[in-house]
Assembly symmetry: C2
């Protein structure tokens, strides 16, 4: 084949490939993928039983990524899961539909999934458990390992007014709820130092990527803000989904955050579940106030309260809800308009 | 464009795509990817502090998969990591080269990475820890959480004769060893019932896939055999890398395993590290004997002792060694010849 013909073929192939990008049932083409760690420090561990004393690495954060072709057209997106969960949150849903990780890649974004420090593939620091076992520490010093029950999940994740009774308009695929329960794993965040190393590592990752959008959910919902307060250099946008917001930040802290476009998203039925440890209506109020604080400081902060936008029935696990890709499109549109668009300057 | 021209273009595009498959720096095209759980059972948990009593799911196994185009030409491969590690084992190496997971996909295989039950994204059962913390169980009942130190890893993984002294011909990328240390996470296998649910779940996964090749390493090296002894129906091939083999199986058990083509692989310097909890020379001897037992029972069992094949310097973490793709090719060749080839019947 002659060179010009070959060039035409390559162009046509690229068109075919790019045209397939957004369709969920078409092949997915990646420029690259892999995994690595951010952060981590060396800790001396004492001898425990037959094991000799030595060094171990703690507080590292495992990150898994995929990049589409031409990923440099968009900012990378870092997704961090919530309590008692792992990055499984963002992958295929309990009823096996596409998750936000792949959908964002198909929309041309590099996606970085981080397992929180002390969770899943990031590991945790077990020295206190072994110290109590060997008698060198007291049982009261054991970490409070948070193991949320199915009943707690049903209530906190707002699947319905009471256990196993779904909301009639609920978007969560409750027929596959057992698959969500399998995602729930022990949460050892109570073992972590302050500041939480996940915050530090998220800030470092954003910088390492030369700019990224940080997304958090629930327990990690305010982590993007915490990361930016540690080092805002790499944080180009913040997406905070369903959490209590901090409204007691200093003026200097609010000013730092106001330089970063911020999206906050809440689902439906915030006040419709009785009992349980979460108070979503109250969390929503704190975030409304936080948005006002950012706006007053000159920031670009958007609150998407889905039912107010006519999108009904979303649960707390909205990235797994039946309309999850519709919500992803809302977020992608917000990124286009508020973070990446030249028309609307990011820093006012 | 006319239909025949379009058909030609599609053919050419497919050729371009398929031609790129084995090249490590070319885009990767996936037919599908995702994650799910195998197994799991519901356990009642007592109230712990502010948390009410309820149900939790334990013993589930998290599995992440990728399928290339035309994956049905080959059997899927299930990879299970070893002690104190997660599926990160098979992903990009400590020095950021391609891991076996992607390489096998590029060679046309569906790859399933399983986090062992009680590790990483599979979660673990924390009830004993919480019971001791609340005073309803004794410290001696705490699980023995295995946290391997850097020093133990250096010795057990055979990076050199003594800590921080590498073998002159060593294949492990020791300059990136800190990145391996970050992969090492607490091992709670001591909390598991017998039989280990990972074995049961591996057998179930192989069956669910309507036939698969099971691969284990180190702690999980003999798990494919254990899975096949629970249910051989889906286990079409076994790859066991660097572990002690069981040589006290019954005649009926050996007969079951002898129906499945088996590959065992060991690296170099088996007797060249002094001290530490592992005795690789002894493990090798048990596997030699196991191969003899399978062969005597009519089985097709192959021992690849790499230095005997002229491949020198491989560590215990050989899937991360500098020649890791060369070793992957050996395994792929074995699959072709011993599992998938029509010429050499699988069941003698």
């Amino acid at each position: 084949m002659k060179a010009p013909q070959y060039a035409l073929l390559i162009t046509l192939c690229m068109t075919v490939t790019l045209g397939a990008f957004a369709a969920e049932d078409k092949p997915l083409t990646l420029a690259s993928q892999g995994s690595f760690f951010v952060g981590g420090e060396i800790k001396k561990i004492p001898a425990a039983g037959p094991a000799a004393a030595g060094d171990m690495t703690v507080n590292q954060m495992y990150v898994q990524y995929q990049s589409p072709l031409n990923a440099d057209r968009h900012l990378p997106v870092v997704m961090v899961h919530g309590c008692c969960l792992s990055s499984k949150t963002w992958e295929t849903t309990p009823d096996s539909r596409m998750g936000w990780n792949e959908y964002f890649v198909r929309k041309g974004r590099s996606v970085y999934l981080a397992d929180q420090v002390s969770r899943a593939r990031s590991g945790f620091d077990p020295t206190k458990i072994n110290a109590v076992r060997s008698g060198s520490a007291q049982p009261s010093e054991l970490p409070n390992v948070l193991a949320a029950s199915h009943q707690t999940a049903w209530s906190v994740f707002r699947f319905g007014p009471s256990f196993n009774v779904p909301f009639p308009d609920g978007q969560f695929p409750v027929q596959a709820i057992d698959e969500l329960y399998k995602q729930m794993i022990p949460d050892l965040n109570s073992t972590l130092p302050n500041p939480n190393p996940t915050w530090t590592n998220m800030a470092a990752l954003a910088k390492q990527l030369k700019g990224a959008i940080l997304m958090g959910h629930s327990e990690s919902g305010f982590f993007p803000e915490q990361a930016a307060l540690i080092d805002p250099a790499g944080v180009k946008g913040i997406i905070s989904i369903e959490m209590p917001c901090q409204t007691n930040l200093t003026e200097a802290q609010v000013s730092t955050l106001a330089k970063i476009p911020t999206l906050i998203m809440f689902g439906d039925h915030l006040g419709d579940v009785q009992g349980g440890p979460a108070n979503w209506a109250n969390s929503f109020d704190t975030c409304q106030k936080f948005v006002e604080q950012l706006t007053k400081a000159g920031g670009d902060a958007v609150m998407m309260h889905l039912p107010k936008m006519g999108i009904k029935g979303n649960s707390h696990m909205l990235m797994q809800d039946k309309n999850n890709l519709q919500l992803a499109d809302l977020i992608l549109g917000w990124i286009d308009d508020h973070v990446e668009s030249k028309k609307k300057p990011v820093r006012k």
